[in-house]
């Protein structure tokens, strides 16, 4: 088991290592194992010569966090309703929820772009956040539905007969139970948002600049080393913000020793 785990770690980390090395290799001819000339040249290019980079990083993170929050705000009640309530057309709605990831993304985005132009949302941070959320929602609802199914509504009923109102129940009973699932859904939504390119490009119209918007032209233009720097930056930003998030949540809800004891 342990050996398998290390194999898995190696397989998932090796490409990242290559990526990291690429960012500092000025001259790396075949078949050398390591670059022959190394420098910070590409970092200089990305951080100093391009004054958009830091802004883009901030935009990416803000966007991802907003998307994660918007997604959860919708996914939690939706998943709750789909799990514990019965209403007409429930099965149909369940399929409808998955549509944005069944239908090709580009088709969904073009359709939405027309509506967004009408609403004046194109080229705005809000518009991009909405379109990202649309693609994060199916996953988040899926995760939260499973969480609600596993948790059940027994304790909520118990709280209700003890005289608690809906808001009180949600805060004191439901929320602490679903925190691990919320974290998972948050992380996934965050990751989906931070990796979006086409949707950001189409709805943002070049006015919402994220790291991927800066990154992709470099790949297309063959400047893979600069793309590698952006990639490392993107990964770093994501890992940093997510681990901060998890750390904060764990401070408030010490759930592990209670739920998994």
């Amino acid at each position: 088991m342990k050996a398998l785990f290390y194999v898995w770690v190696f397989i998932s980390c090796a490409p990242l290592l290559v990526l990291a090395v690429m960012t500092v290799s000025t001259f790396w001819p075949y078949p050398a194992l390591l670059p022959e000339i190394m420098s910070w040249e590409y970092y200089y290019h990305v951080f100093v010569q391009n004054d958009q980079t830091l802004n883009a990083a901030v935009t990416s993170i803000l966007l991802a966090v907003s998307v994660a929050f918007i997604t959860l705000m919708i996914a939690v009640p939706a998943a709750k309703a789909l799990t514990h309530h019965n209403f007409f057309g429930k099965d149909f709605v369940k399929i409808l929820v998955l549509l944005p990831i069944i239908v090709p993304g580009i088709a969904v985005t073009i359709g939405n772009q027309i509506s967004m132009i009408r609403l004046g949302l194109t080229g705005t941070f809000g518009g991009v956040a909405i379109i990202h959320s649309l693609f994060a929602l199916p996953f988040a609802i899926r995760i939260m539905s499973n969480v609600f199914e596993a948790v059940g509504n027994r304790l909520e009923l118990q709280a209700a007969v003890l005289g608690a109102g809906p808001a009180f129940i949600f805060r004191r009973v439901t929320l602490p139970q679903i925190i691990p699932g919320l974290l998972a859904a948050f992380t996934l939504s965050f990751t989906i948002s931070i990796a979006q390119y086409v949707t950001t490009f189409m709805i943002g119209g070049g006015r919402v600049i994220t790291l991927t918007i800066l990154l992709v032209p470099h790949i297309q233009g063959g400047q893979t080393h600069i793309a590698a720097v952006y990639s490392v930056l993107l990964i770093g930003a994501a890992v940093l913000s997510l681990s901060m998030m998890e750390h904060i949540v764990r401070r408030y809800y010490n759930f592990e020793n209670v739920f998994y004891a």
Binding site: R154, L155, A159, V161, L162, G163, A164, G165, R172, V258
Partner: protein, 338 residues
């Protein structure tokens, strides 16, 4: 006036009737058991009273107030679920306080009431433990404390003892019975365990196939079941065929009072406990089989003059051997003609 009134309740799930025309009146401070086999709809009835289900028709009145449009949290009827439903992320104290916090009672009063409950339930030393650190009996005390601290107008217990092992079960039954009497909380207990219902309650409602078959004192239900179904469910009964003629039932065991019964064939129900292995005489029988059960021994006997009629009887004597003869008589006043 009755404290709780369940009036003509009907409930079905997906076209399948679960409860049919149930009406029960419960007096102030009374402990009533709802007794029935698994799946007879008794838990559904409890959830209806608590407001967790809606009846198809019929009403529930608590303190004379019709509860049909009152949500669960405002009814003042607290359920203690079979698996206790403790909040895993809260300490014992926080669990017990939950309802008081929801009611926005002030901190000092809350602390006082909670401490008092911890004391009554004898779990003061567990106040800062989490539920997973408690034993089954302790969990149940916390669940009871959490309900009782609210001084509910009605306490609903759903199979409260079924998750406890035998010795603990007896202790907790005693405990709950004392508690209920001391606090004077009107209580409805749902159970499939006859002994439990008989031991704890002032009256027992027997529900079979979604219908209320009999609502009476434990003694009446045991000795005077109103129908074969109830007698069968309570179990351990012999049925002896005979005939009723102008208010008297006669069979080979003798003549018994059957006033009010129409003439014709009928059956006499005799509990295993109501037949006596009598050394002084009675109907001569032969023992076919014996089963030692601890407090009593159950004998299967056959009457000598009629080798088809087998009867079972419980006796404190465990020395009689299969094959030997015995006289059997009916303990006075225990007969019940169905």
């Amino acid at each position: 006036m009755s404290k709780v009134r369940i009036e003509n309740i009907h409930k079905s799930f997906g076209g399948n009737p679960v409860l049919k025309d149930i009406s029960i009146d419960i007096d102030e401070g009374e402990l009533v058991s709802i007794l029935g086999p698994s799946g007879c709809g008794k838990t559904t009835l409890l959830r209806l009273v608590a407001g967790l289900e809606t009846a198809d028709s019929g009403s529930v009145f608590i303190d004379g107030r019709c509860c049909d449009d009152i949500p669960a949290r405002k009814r003042g009827a607290v359920i203690v679920f079979q698996d206790y439903g403790l909040f895993p992320h809260m300490t014992v104290t926080a669990n017990i306080e939950f309802g008081l916090v929801a009611r926005k009672e002030n901190r000092a009063l809350r602390a006082k009431k909670t401490a008092h409950m911890l004391d009554i339930m004898q779990i003061s030393d567990k106040a800062s433990c989490y539920p997973h650190e408690l034993s089954g009996g302790q969990k149940q005390r916390v669940a009871l404390a959490r309900a009782c601290v609210l001084e509910p107008s009605l306490l609903l217990l759903d199979e409260p003892f079924s998750n406890l092992d035998t010795n603990l079960k007896d202790a907790m039954r005693e405990f709950v019975s004392d508690l209920q009497r001391d606090l004077g909380i009107t209580t409805v207990l749902v159970t499939h365990d006859k002994e439990e219902a008989f031991m704890l309650s002032q009256r027992v409602a027997v529900i079979l196939d979604g219908c209320l078959r009999q609502f009476d004192t434990p003694r009446q239900i045991y000795a005077r079941p109103r129908s074969i179904q109830v007698a069968d469910f309570i179990g351990e009964a012999n049925y002896i065929s005979g005939t009723v003629l102008s208010g008297t039932f006669s069979c080979f065991l003798g003549n018994f009072d059957a006033s009010g019964r129409p003439d014709g064939s009928a059956r006499l129900m005799l509990r295993y406990d109501h037949l006596i292995a009598d050394p002084d005489g009675g109907v001569p029988c032969q023992i076919l089989e014996k089963k030692f059960r601890g407090r009593t021994t159950t004998y299967r006997v056959v009457t000598k003059h009629d080798p088809i009629t087998e009867m079972y009887l419980n006796s404190p004597i465990d020395t009689l051997q299969p094959g030997s003869s015995v006289f059997v008589s009916v303990s006075a006043g225990s007969e019940c003609v169905l």
